[in-house]
């Protein structure tokens, strides 16, 4: 421990004397030589926090340095996302970024976009399902879609999260993909998926568009049914639920995702090392077990793949938000 401290100290002194170029050069050589901070923009105990913590614990084994998760909450996620983007680009401060980063800037809430980061790896995506109450007359998603088409605008009520949240945009995207008005189904804002599922079971709503893991317990309790998921392929844990394409021929998919990123201008070798280590974490049995245990979907994309994934998602979100009248002109 003393040895380590001394090395860090002398390294600091050299950096101070030798200037920034030398520092970044030697930093890349023996990176990581000190503990890494991982910022989580959401509160302790939630799904994003849990994902960050399991990845941090496994990354620690890979990198041989402690990886500390720090929850920087506040401002509906903006504060933590900003902290990741504005950190020193030395590889010692990373963060977990979430789908909100491709949504909030359209509303004019923050200048941050997916381009404000050095993407490292995409590790999780949960597509939305379409759920109805157990005793609902609609047996398939086609029945439901036909009823929605026939009904006047706003007759059907749907919920899953707050106004302008990811599941709201999923509904808008689905409606647009069917050639209907974005507000054909009225959105009832809620404080998240759990209250929405409860309200569905209480008979207050016609459908919900939250992810299947979030709806799982109520479905398993026999109080609700999932008719379809808005994903390219079925969820292995719910093999009976068809995709929208299978059930209706509509090729529309979206989802809430979580990925890891650093501030912009992260040195190439550092970023490559992090992506390689994250890939090992992703392939580990512990990660797979943890995610499937909680019902979370796993998906891998490396730095370049993550960047193009976010670009595509950002465009899709922008279109949905403009259609719903949520984007700031």
């Amino acid at each position: 421990m003393t040895r380590l401290t001394r090395r860090t100290f002398s390294f600091g002194a050299v950096a101070a004397a030798g200037g920034l170029a030398l520092r970044s050069a030697s930093a890349q050589g023996n990176y990581p030589s000190r503990p890494i901070t991982m910022i989580c923009p959401w509160g302790a105990g939630g799904g994003t926090d849990a994902t960050a913590r399991i990845v941090a614990a496994l990354l620690e084994k890979e990198m041989g340095q402690p990886v500390n998760v720090v929850n920087r909450t506040g401002g509906s996620g903006v504060v933590g996302h900003a902290a990741i983007s504005m950190a020193q680009p030395d590889g010692y401060t990373l963060g977990i970024i979430t789908v909100e980063i491709s949504m909030m800037h359209w509303q004019g809430l923050t200048p941050l976009t997916p381009r404000s980061y050095t993407p490292l790896a995409l590790m999780n995506e949960d597509p939305p399902g379409i759920q109805v109450k157990a005793d609902s007359p609609y047996k398939t998603v086609k029945d439901l879609a036909d009823a929605i088409k026939a009904a006047p605008v706003g007759k059907f009520k749907c919920s899953g999260t707050g106004q302008g949240g990811i599941w709201h945009l999923a509904l808008v995207g689905w409606m647009t993909a069917m050639g209907l008005k974005p507000d054909q189904v009225a959105w009832v804002p809620s404080n998240g998926a759990a209250p929405a599922m409860q309200d569905l079971a209480a008979g207050g709503l016609d459908l919900t568009t939250c992810s299947i893991p979030e709806a799982r317990a109520i479905i398993e309790a026999g109080k609700a049914r999932s008719l379809a998921i808005m994903a390219p392929k079925r969820n292995p844990q719910f093999p009976d639920v068809p995709t929208l394409k299978e059930a209706m021929g509509i090729d529309y998919s979206t989802g809430a995702w979580r990925g890891f990123a650093g501030p912009p201008k992260l040195p190439q070798p550092v970023a490559e090392k992090l992506t390689a280590s994250l890939k090992k974490v992703y392939d580990s049995k512990e990660y797979k077990d943890f995610m499937s245990g909680r019902g979370y979907g796993t998906i891998w994309a490396d730095a370049a793949g993550f960047a193009s994934f976010m670009d595509k998602g950002d465009k899709q979100m922008g279109e949905a938000m403009k259609a719903a009248g949520l984007a700031k002109a």
Binding site: A44, D49, G74, Q198, A217, A221, G295
Partner: protein, 500 residues
């Protein structure tokens, strides 16, 4: 029967018992540190549960949260720093007892009735969980609207000032609840372009500010107060048995109401404590003594608080719907450990279920001896000179607020609310009513707006649904009762004058 025995055997495992003891001590310490909450204690346990057996993992969560909720009452009682929004309901009462030199009685009541409430809630969970769960699931936003409306009306009851000032304070609280973008419209309000305000004002920093920081300011501004000191009561429990005998009615009412409110997701322990304190005062023979250091309200709301905590596990275990932030974390751990919430948990994994019940019981029983030790140690702080304690309180408030989200803005909120609380109390406006406004504000708004969206603007659905109708009658009666009472008095006076 086999399942029960199997459950007991599971609990008797060494790792489970060690987890029970260690997490009990951990929960007691975290909860007692001003500004650190039970939710935080639970969240910090999550990475540790990765390495524990399923039952040991659940044990740590159950035990640590129950202990932290009780010991959160300690700084509330001794220093006027409520640990949770739930304990804010009776912080003033407990602190008044402390000022009278009866800190051990107040803390003892909090401990004893917390434990009894927890045990009552657990028994309810064991016997009628499925019934309670169906009850919880029958609540739509219409019912929540009336419920939160009733909760908000407690503002005038919990305050000791004039009703007008209490209503004014509650309205300030409602205004504060408007800040941010976490509203049905998803539109930022009153944020003045400040990013940190997008998420609104968190209840905990606001609470710590108006109660603790304002108290420090008063102590610094006023003449040095006589040292509070404390009389040692001898046996802490002896006094409680007496209270139990005297107030068994209040205790039972607190337990029942606490469990019922607790099973409603989103309402939970916070609302239970406020509502029960208000009920206690409303039906008390001596309501004028409330707020002056009188244990009656403390008994009822303390009992409700912990009964609600057990109640919150009902929707969590059966439908995976979190009743509060603690069960939200616990649900994640349950999934991770293969104990997926749902009715099958009660049939296929019955032995694990019984084991969890036993853990609930043990945690609440263990709370009594450990709690007594904790009370004996912490009451020593009252003997310390005020000039040494006050700066420490301020430090704890700042560190605690920062620790929740590693965000310096929370410290600014604490300071701002300290000033607001100081000014309000100096002018006779009750801060408790404002806190209630902040807690209930978003719930009232959310449930009203979403209900109106669902009914396309119609008002009838607020009265159509059976439970909604009952709650509506209760709310409207409570609202109009004082007016009715006043009218009768006027008519009587008029007739009396006419006959005279």
């Amino acid at each position: 029967m086999d399942a029960i025995l199997e459950g007991l055997k599971l609990v008797a495992a060494t790792d489970v018992l060690i987890a029970l003891l260690v997490s009990a001590v951990y929960g007691l310490i975290i909860g007692a540190i001003p500004g650190l909450t039970a939710t935080m204690a639970t969240a910090l346990l999550v990475p540790i549960t990765f390495y524990l057996s399923p039952l040991a993992a659940i044990t740590t969560i159950v035990t640590a949260s129950a202990m932290a909720i009780f010991s959160g009452d300690i700084p509330g009682c001794l220093l006027r720093i409520p640990g949770t929004p739930a304990s804010a309901a009776y912080t003033d009462e407990a602190y008044a007892l402390t000022k009278k030199g009866q800190a051990e009685l107040a803390l003892g009541a909090s401990l004893w009735f917390s434990a009894l409430g927890g045990i009552f809630g657990t028994i309810a969970l064991m016997i009628i969980a499925p019934v309670l769960a169906d009850f919880a699931l029958s609540f739509s936003t219409f019912e929540y609207f009336w419920l939160s409306f009733l909760g908000l009306m407690c503002a005038t009851l919990v305050a000791r000032s004039s009703p007008v000032k209490a209503v004014a304070s509650a309205l300030i609280g409602l205004l504060i609840a408007c800040i941010g973008m976490e509203n049905p419209g998803g539109t930022p309000r009153f944020t003045f372009g400040v990013t940190d305000l997008l998420g609104g004002v968190d209840v905990i920093p606001a609470l710590v500010g108006v109660f603790a920081v304002s108290e420090v300011m008063r102590a610094m501004a006023g003449p040095p107060a006589a040292k509070i000191g404390h009389k040692s009561l001898g046996s802490i429990l002896a006094g409680q048995l007496e209270l139990t005998k005297k107030y068994w009615r209040q205790m039972t009412r607190g337990n029942v109401v606490g469990t019922l409110v607790g099973v409603l997701p989103g309402a939970g322990a916070d609302m239970a404590a406020w509502v029960c304190y208000a009920i206690s005062k409303r039906f008390s023979k001596t309501p004028e003594k409330f707020g002056t250091g009188y244990p009656e309200g403390l008994v009822e709301s303390g009992a409700a608080n912990n009964a609600a905590l057990a109640g919150a596990w009902v929707p969590a275990l059966i439908f995976g719907i979190p009743g509060d932030t603690i069960t939200a974390i616990a649900i994640g751990v349950l999934y991770m450990k293969g104990l997926n919430p749902g009715p099958t948990l009660f049939t296929e994994k019955a032995s694990s279920m019984y084991a969890i019940y036993v853990i609930f019981m043990l945690a609440n029983i263990l709370m009594i001896p450990l709690g007594i030790i904790m009370i004996r140690i912490t009451t020593k702080v009252l003997n310390a000179p005020q000039s040494a304690v006050m700066p420490l309180i301020l430090l704890c408030c700042a560190v605690g607020a920062f620790a929740v989200g590693n965000n310096l803005f929370a410290v600014v909120i604490v300071a701002a609310f300290g000033i607001i609380g100081y000014v309000m109390e100096a002018n006779g406006f009750p801060v408790a009513a404002m806190v209630l406004g902040i807690i209930m504000g978003s719930m009232v708004e959310q449930s009203l707006v979403t209900s109106l969206i669902k009914s396309d603007g119609g008002i009838m659905p607020f009265f159509d649904r059976p439970i909604s109708a009952v709650l509506a009658v209760m709310a409207i009666t409570a609202l109009l009762w004082p007016l009715f009472f006043w009218l009768i008095k006027r008519v009587r006076q008029a007739t009396a004058r006419a006959t005279a």
